[in-house]
Assembly symmetry: C2
C-alpha cells in the first residue's frame, strides 16, 4: 500500500520493451513506502525508435529517476549529459538520475553483485575469482570488481572469443586489474576453478530457455568454492542446486537484483535503501 499521491509526489520509472514482466515497480514502491518518501515508481513501455523522445519527455516532465533496461541500455548513452566511470567502461547504463534537467547515467548491476556477495559474507579483497561469461553483465561486474582493494585476481571464461578478449583488454587498460580470458572448455575451466575461491556465473544459462542447464560440470564444484549465479528465475538454478549439494556457499541472482535496485534507490533519494523491505517485496512478487 502506498501513501497518497499528491501534486508534489516525485515520479521514478522503468523504461523497457516489453515492459510487462518487470518487478521494479513493486520493489521500489515498497522502498519509498517504507521510508515514507513522497515518491512513486511506474513503468513506461518505450519502443526502440522512441528513446530520444522519451528522454526529452523525462526532462520536460521532471521524472526524477529511471531504471533502464532492454533494449535501451546502450542507446541511452548518447542521450545523457554525464556518465559515471563504470558506465563509461561498460558502455551501458541501467540507472538515470535527473537533477533539474541534467541527466547522469550509472550502472548499478555490478554494485548489485558486489553488495550481494558482501551481504553473503563473501570476501572479495585479493580473492581469486572465476567469471563465466563476457557479455554486458560480466562486463559490469568485472569493472566494478576493479574498484575493490586490493584487486581480486579475475579469470574470465566465455564462449565468445572476441567479446572476451575485448573485455580482458579493456579491463587491463582501464584498471590494471590482473585478468585473463580463456574460452569456456572443461579443461580450462577446471584449471581456473582449482585456484579460485569464488565463481560468478554471468550468463543466461540456467534460465529459460536454458533452464535445467549449468555451465559448470558438477564434479568441479567443491565445498570451499562460493558460487554466485546472476540468474534469479528460477531462484535455484541447476548450478546452485549442485553447488548446494556439495556444501558450497551459494548466492542467487535475487540478491544482485535487489542490491542493484537498492543502489538505484540511493542515487535517486540520497537515503540508505531498506534492503530487507525490498527483498521481501521481490519474494512476495515471485511467490507462486
Amino acid at each position: 500500500m502506498l501513501r497518497q499521491i499528491t501534486a508534489s509526489t516525485q515520479v521514478c520509472a522503468i523504461i523497457k520493451d516489453p515492459v510487462e514482466h518487470s518487478l521494479s515497480p513493486q520493489i521500489h514502491n515498497a522502498a519509498f513506502q517504507s521510508l515514507n518518501l513522497d515518491m512513486v515508481y511506474t513503468a513506461f513501455h518505450v519502443r526502440s525508435g522512441r528513446l530520444c523522445e522519451a528522454i526529452m519527455g523525462v526532462r520536460a516532465l521532471g521524472v526524477r529517476g529511471l531504471s533502464v533496461t532492454i533494449p535501451h541500455k546502450v542507446d541511452i548513452l548518447s542521450e545523457l549529459d554525464e556518465l559515471d566511470s563504470v558506465s563509461r567502461h561498460v558502455h551501458s547504463v541501467n540507472t538515470v538520475v535527473n537533477d533539474g534537467g541534467s541527466l547522469k547515467g550509472y550502472t548499478s548491476d555490478g554494485y548489485g553483485a558486489l553488495r550481494a556477495l558482501s551481504a553473503a559474507d563473501v570476501s572479495l579483497a585479493g580473492a581469486s575469482i572465476v567469471v563465466i561469461g563476457s557479455g554486458g553483465a560480466a562486463r559490469a561486474i568485472c569493472f566494478t570488481l576493479a574498484t575493490v582493494e586490493p584487486f581480486p585476481k579475475v579469470a574470465i571464461l566465455g564462449i565468445d572469443e572476441r567479446e572476451g578478449q575485448d573485455l580482458r583488454r579493456d579491463l587491463c587498460e582501464a584498471t590494471g586489474l590482473p585478468v585473463t580470458f580463456e574460452t569456456l572448455q572443461d579443461d580450462k575451466l577446471q584449471i581456473a576453478l582449482e585456484s579460485a575461491s569464488l565463481v560468478i556465473q554471468a550468463t543466461p544459462v540456467g534460465m529459460s530457455p536454458k533452464e535445467g542447464k549449468s555451465p559448470i560440470p558438477s564434479y568441479m564444484l567443491r565445498e570451499d568454492l562460493a558460487v554466485f549465479d546472476i540468474v534469479y528465475t528460477p531462484l535455484e538454478t541447476r548450478l546452485l542446486k549442485e553447488a548446494s549439494g556439495v556444501g558450497a556457499k551459494t548466492i542467487s541472482g535475487l540478491g544482485m537484483f535487489v542490491h542493484q535496485a537498492a543502489a538505484q534507490f540511493e542515487l535517486w533519494t540520497g537515503r540508505k535503501a531498506p534492503v530487507d523491505v525490498m527483498t521481501a517485496a521481490v519474494e512476495k512478487s515471485l511467490a507462486p
Copy 2:
C-alpha cells in the same frame, strides 16, 4: 490507499506550472482505486517553453491521459492530433486521451458545469441563463450550453467588451445559440437577471485575491434564481452566502471541479465515473 503499481499499470497525469496545489491526483487515484482499475495518476511540473518536449514524451512513454491546465491549455492545441468540437470552439484543451500514440484533446470544464447543475436538479433546457464573465471558463460553459436542447437563452455580461463581443459572435456563428453581450454594469445586470432562472458566475471574483467580493449586488438575488459559482476556494463565496441568505438554490464550483474530473475519467477509462468517491476525495483534501 492504492492497489499495487506493477509493470502493467497505466499512467495518467496532470501537467501544470506551478504544480503544487492541484487536487487532481487525489481525486483521480480515488476513482481508479474505487473501480479497482490498474491505473495511477501523477503530477508533472512542465514549464511553458517545455510543452513540446513534454508531449513528445507523453507519446513515447505511453502516458494514457493528461489533465492540462495553466499555462498549457491553449499552447497544447498545436501539439495534438485531433480536437473535439467544444475544444475547437473554446480554443483550449483541459483533457488529452492517448490512443496508441494518437492524442485527442477535449474540454471537460463545460461538461463539468452542466453535470454539476444537472446533479443539483437545475433545468437547462430552454432556460434563461445569465453568464457573468467572458474568459476561458465562460467560453467553455457557453459552448457546452449550446449542446442543450432546446437551446437555453444566454445573456453574457462581462468587463472586457472585446472579449465578450468575440464570444457572442463566435457562439452565434457556430451554434445559432440566442445570446447577447452587455458590459457588466448594475443596471444592465439587473435587467438581465429579472428574466433569468439561473446565473453562472464564471470569473475569479470571490477567490483570492478577490475573496470576499461578489460581482452581483445582493439586492438582485431572489429565492427563485439558482446561483452557480465556478469558484470553489473558498467553498462558499460571498455570492453563494448571500444567495443562500435569500433562500436561493446555490451550486458551488466544487461540483464543477468534480464533474469535469469525472468526464476526464470517463474519457480515459471508458467507465462510468464514481462521482461520490471523487467528491469525498476532494472534500477530504480540502478539509482544514
